[in-house]
């Protein structure tokens, strides 16, 4: 066995998804309004795990956590930034993609989660370009290979230096016996609409294409000589910035560090609490502690502590933590606690002021976090109990999960205390298209794909508190249980779920969650979870004689030539 083939216990190193530009090891963020520049200069010895060096601007999860943080901060902290240039601070290499030694030694779970996260970050870049007035371009000043080219493909405009040597390539198939894992194949044919036979040639050409050939085949949008490169980057960035509707007279809100306390059996955030039991994590979402501010100015004043934003950031962090650091918690149960009317007040504010750049960012972020939830390969359940506050945008969680249960009536309060209001949910405009899934449809529309009438009817019920029976009748929850059955049924549900094969569940859930049309985004994830994750398991990629473990060893993989 090669010395590179060591089983890495990835869960030994707990990944932290919180960072700050002041702590970046790999990216430099330069703000020169109206545009910003993200320069990649990966610290070779700055890998998250031991056993590999991040040469030639190759990346591991740590590099992408910083990128994700930068993309997020640019949106919230810098309204003045209307275009973003991604480039390299290293000579010769724009980005060499995911580090192969890292992939070779990583566990399968880590590889899958790593790819998913990097995809979500690329999608966030496209989301900023499409919806935030913050358009991205790639200034490819050195070879962009594999994930490096895929990163460039996530931007709106690819400028390639024409020095007779610098190439863009997707060498995964020919070099590594895997696929480009961050949407490269899909973006070639779907986004850039490159002819499939040309894409076939490109994807099997280890060294890729450069200069006029790259341009002719639409792999890049423009080539420019080295001497004019920087000048042209600045021109293009100004051009991209020109069409933006971001305000020039507002200041950003600093994304302050999350207050987070890791316990051995869970995590406490300010608005979120996660409790681990065997194989299960319960996620408590806390409603707002104070009434919503009066207007957009009030939101800006509250900044990162504005309840929806604060809760979303915590939920986002918790989901990533659970994905990467707690692989054995196969079921996530969502509950909420709070004042329904107060939560609804925030929802109304988010709808009313969506034209405000900051509110728009909060809404777009909610969309991304809910997508992250849709794409989390765990069994997802929601329990709606008295005192919960699933209202408006927060009730999207009910339609993201695999099943939801509502407690009918109130719990038995035989001690004579005053009775709680029964559990109910409230829909709003937030549930009808403001937070689309990766398939481009709202969760409710996806849910009622075969029942357009139901969809219309529940739309008329927006604003009405729907208790257990109406919610069940309208198909908004899976089951309504009274307090006699509640505890036992829920226990049985969770026990039964944990008895199934986690792999079969991931597959089943992913198949059932995304009916309806395909989009580029949905294709990227679907292709990833089927093809790439299959290939990642196959001996031709990861077996003792497979391409990944042998990469760098000088030995050649020995492929099983049978087609499956």
């Amino acid at each position: 066995m090669s010395s590179y083939v060591v089983e890495q216990a990835n869960d030994v190193v707990a990944l932290d998804f919180q960072t700050h530009p002041a702590r970046y090891k790999h990216w430099q963020l330069g703000i020169t309004p109206p545009y910003a520049t993200l320069s990649l200069s990966v610290a070779e010895d700055g890998g998250v795990f031991p056993g590999y060096r991040l040469k030639r601007n190759s990346y591991d999860i740590g590099v992408d956590i910083e990128l994700s943080d930068a993309v997020m901060r640019l949106r919230f902290e810098h309204p003045e930034v209307r275009a973003v240039v991604i480039t390299s601070a290293l000579a010769d290499s724009f980005c060499a993609g995911a580090n192969i030694q890292m992939l070779g030694q990583a566990s399968h779970e880590h590889k899958v989660n790593f790819c998913k996260f990097t995809n979500e970050t690329r999608n966030a870049i496209e989301d900023a370009s499409a919806h935030s007035g913050q358009r991205y371009m790639a200034a490819i000043n050195g070879t962009a290979a594999g994930g490096g080219f895929e990163l460039a493909l996530a931007t709106d405009y690819l400028l390639l230096v024409d020095d007779g040597n610098t190439a863009v390539s997707l060498p995964e198939v020919s070099l590594l016996a895997v696929l480009p894992g961050t949407g490269g194949l899909t973006r070639l044919v779907d986004k850039r609409k490159i002819r499939r036979d040309i894409a076939d040639v490109f994807c099997t050409l280890e060294e890729g294409m450069r200069s006029s050939r790259a341009l002719k085949n639409k792999l890049v949008d423009e080539t420019v000589p080295r001497s004019r490169f920087n000048e042209r980057v600045a021109e293009l960035a100004m051009e991209l910035a020109g069409g933006s509707d971001r305000p020039t007279d507002r200041t950003g809100i600093p994304l302050t560090p999350l207050r987070r306390n890791n316990r051995s059996d869970g995590i406490d955030y300010e608005h979120l609490r996660v409790d681990y039991q065997s194989g299960l994590a319960t996620i408590w979402l806390r409603g707002p502690q104070a009434p919503a501010p009066a207007d957009a100015a009030g939101i800006e004043k509250e900044g990162a502590s504005f309840w929806p934003l604060a809760l979303l950031r915590e939920l986002d962090d918790a989901l990533l933590h659970l994905r990467f650091n707690e692989p054995s918690l196969g079921t996530l149960v969502f509950k909420s606690v709070g004042d329904l009317d107060r939560a609804l007040g925030y929802d109304a504010l988010l709808i009313e002021h969506n034209d405000d750049w900051l509110v728009r960012e909060v809404n777009l972020y909610a969309t991304r976090v809910f997508k992250r939830l849709d794409l989390t390969a765990r069994s997802l359940f929601a329990l709606i109990e008295p005192g919960s506050c699933f209202a408006g945008w927060l009730s999207e969680i009910l339609f993201a999960v695999d099943r939801s249960y509502i407690l009918e009536g109130t719990s038995d309060t035989s001690d004579g205390e005053e009775e709680d209001e029964p559990a109910g949910i409230v829909l709003s405009e937030s549930n009808f298209g403001r937070h689309p899934m990766v398939n481009g449809l709202s969760r409710l529309r996806t849910r009622f794909l075969g029942e357009p009438d139901t969809l219309s009817r529940v739309h008329t019920l927006a604003g009405v508190t729907l208790f257990a029976q109406p919610a069940l009748k309208e198909g908004l929850v899976t089951f309504a249980l009274d307090d006699i059955d509640w505890e036992d049924e829920i226990r049985l549900l969770l026990e039964e779920r944990s008895s199934f094969s986690p792999d079969a569940l991931s597959g089943m859930e992913a198949n059932l969650r995304f009916p309806g049309p395909e989009t580029m985004e949905s294709k990227i994830f679907a292709r990833l979870s089927t093809w790439q994750n299959w290939i990642f398991q196959r001996p031709n990629a990861v077996g003792e004689k497979g391409a990944l473990p042998l990469f760098g060893s000088g030995r050649r993989p020995d492929f099983d030539k049978n087609r499956v």
Partner: protein
């Protein structure tokens, strides 16, 4: 096969006249090459007749003839060393299988990349040296310069032949790109760093041909082992020519040292570090030569790439690029279980660690190269010792002044001391040529163009070339 056909436009021993496709490709490339030679080759003397050798065969011994030729009329040709009958692949996972006469599809990209990188260096050095004719210290040296230039250009032809013959459209495109990139060009530089450095003076030229062409030799030696037989044969013949280039460098430095020592002795200067006194005599002082040597040697080490290299390992396993003197190495030539001692810097000190030999192909070649260079420096020091001057040149530590490889982030003195940034900044000028050093060398660069005369800073050669004496008019300046 051994006879070269000079009847056609392109002299060759590859039966070009029967390969119309190849002939068409090369004939289309030919005018572009000539244009390149005129635009980026030697800046002047293109119309002068130069006493050059031209390959007329590929058999050992009697392969070249000497005669006067104008450089643009030089018969650049395609010459392969004779085929070895039943040659087997000597290393890698195909060891013992018959050598490939055609490119194996699975290695097409790998071989093409190697050819492009090698091919890119050949015209690069011609470009780097294009101004040197103006400051030639003698007609003998000018002739040597042009000999090196035309043969490097022929090496370009050799690589282009392989690209055209075996790599289809991609190969033709790469062949054109070899003429488009230019040494030191801001927009389209040559691929490897050292080939974008200037060669502004003759000391640089002799050091370049001593050290950097020696890297070329090592690379060609490794490619000459290739299981892809046309590549092997091409490189074997290139090595025949390369020997002269290194001779030019090695003997050039020897003559500079001899001259400096002689002038010092004549003037009674015994302290070689008295740079001022030595420079007053219009010769190159020994410490400056050492600093220049430090520069050229360290920049050339970077050409070997990372000590631990996946690409080199892949090329070895594939049977495409072997090790120096591969067939003489006593091992299994597969390296599946072997280790190799590698100098590494860890925990604040240098240590030799055992690493998988297959990953250390570049490191091993670097070791072989440094051994080869040590012999050259030993010979130079004999010249100094003969003059009884107390000075010895020495190769700097391999970690000195590196930009590529595992030592790139370190500040290492020629003696191997590791310094922090501040200390390094304070002493760096002692080890590398200063602007003043370079200015002084440039001030010596005055052409000496009458037959038999030599510039102040260099001794005449012991022998002439091509059977002619040192005072022969190697370049017909007057006609």
């Amino acid at each position: 096969m051994a006879t070269v056909n000079y009847d056609t436009l392109i002299p060759n021993n590859v039966n070009l006249s029967t390969d119309l496709r190849l002939q068409r490709a090369l004939e289309k490339w030919h005018p572009k090459f000539l244009n390149w030679w005129l635009q980026r080759g030697p800046t002047d003397f293109q119309t002068n007749e130069v006493y050059l050798r031209t390959a007329i065969g590929v058999d050992r011994g009697n392969w070249a003839k000497f005669g006067f030729v104008r450089m643009p009329d030089y018969r650049w040709g395609i010459l392969l060393a004779p085929a070895v009958e039943n040659r087997k692949i000597p290393f890698g996972e195909h060891t013992g299988e018959p050598a490939w006469q055609e490119v194996p599809g699975e290695y097409r990209g790998l071989i093409r990349r190697l050819l492009v990188v090698q091919g890119d260096t050949e015209p690069a050095s011609v470009e780097q040296q294009r101004f040197l004719g103006h400051t030639a210290p003698s007609l003998y040296d000018m002739r040597n310069l042009f000999q090196v230039n035309v043969e490097e250009a022929r090496h370009l032809w050799a690589m282009v032949y392989l690209l055209h013959k075996y790599f289809g459209r991609d190969g033709r495109e790469e062949a054109e790109m070899l003429l488009e990139r230019t040494s030191g060009d801001e927009d389209k530089p040559r691929i490897l760093g050292a080939f974008n450095e200037e060669t502004p003076d003759w000391l640089s030229f002799f050091l370049f041909t001593s050290f950097t062409d020696r890297d070329g030799k090592m690379q060609l030696e490794c490619l000459a082992q290739s299981g892809f037989d046309p590549l092997s044969r091409t490189c074997r013949f290139m090595l025949t020519e390369e020997g002269h280039h290194m001779f030019v460098g090695k003997s050039g430095i020897e003559r500079i040292l001899a001259r400096t020592c002689q002038v010092m002795n004549d003037a009674g200067i015994s302290d070689p570090t008295d740079e001022g006194a030595v420079r007053a005599l219009d010769v190159m002082d020994l410490p400056t030569i050492q600093r220049k040597m430090n520069f050229h040697f360290s920049v050339t080490l970077d050409l070997f790439g990372s000590e631990i290299s996946t690409n080199a390992a892949n090329a070895f396993t594939a049977g495409i690029k072997g090790r120096f003197h591969e067939v003489d190495i006593a091992d299994d030539h597969r390296l599946l279980n072997d280790n190799y001692p590698l100098l590494q810097y860890e925990n604040g000190r240098f240590a030799v660690n055992q690493v998988p030999a297959i990953n250390a192909i570049n490191a091993r070649l670097l070791d072989d190269y440094i051994d080869d260079c040590e012999n050259v420096v030993t010979a130079w020091n004999k010249t100094i010792a003969k003059s009884n001057i107390d000075f010895a040149l020495s190769l700097p530590h391999r970690a000195f002044n590196r930009q590529i490889g595992s030592f790139a982030d370190l500040n290492v003195t020629p003696a191997g001391g590791v310094l922090n940034d501040a200390d390094w900044a304070a002493v760096k000028h002692q080890f590398l040529p200063s602007r003043e050093d370079l200015g002084y060398i440039l001030s010596l660069m005055k052409a000496s163009l009458s037959a038999g005369s030599y510039a102040s800073w260099i001794a005449p050669p012991k022998n002439g070339v091509g059977g002619k004496p040192g005072n022969f008019e190697y370049v017909r300046i007057t006609c």
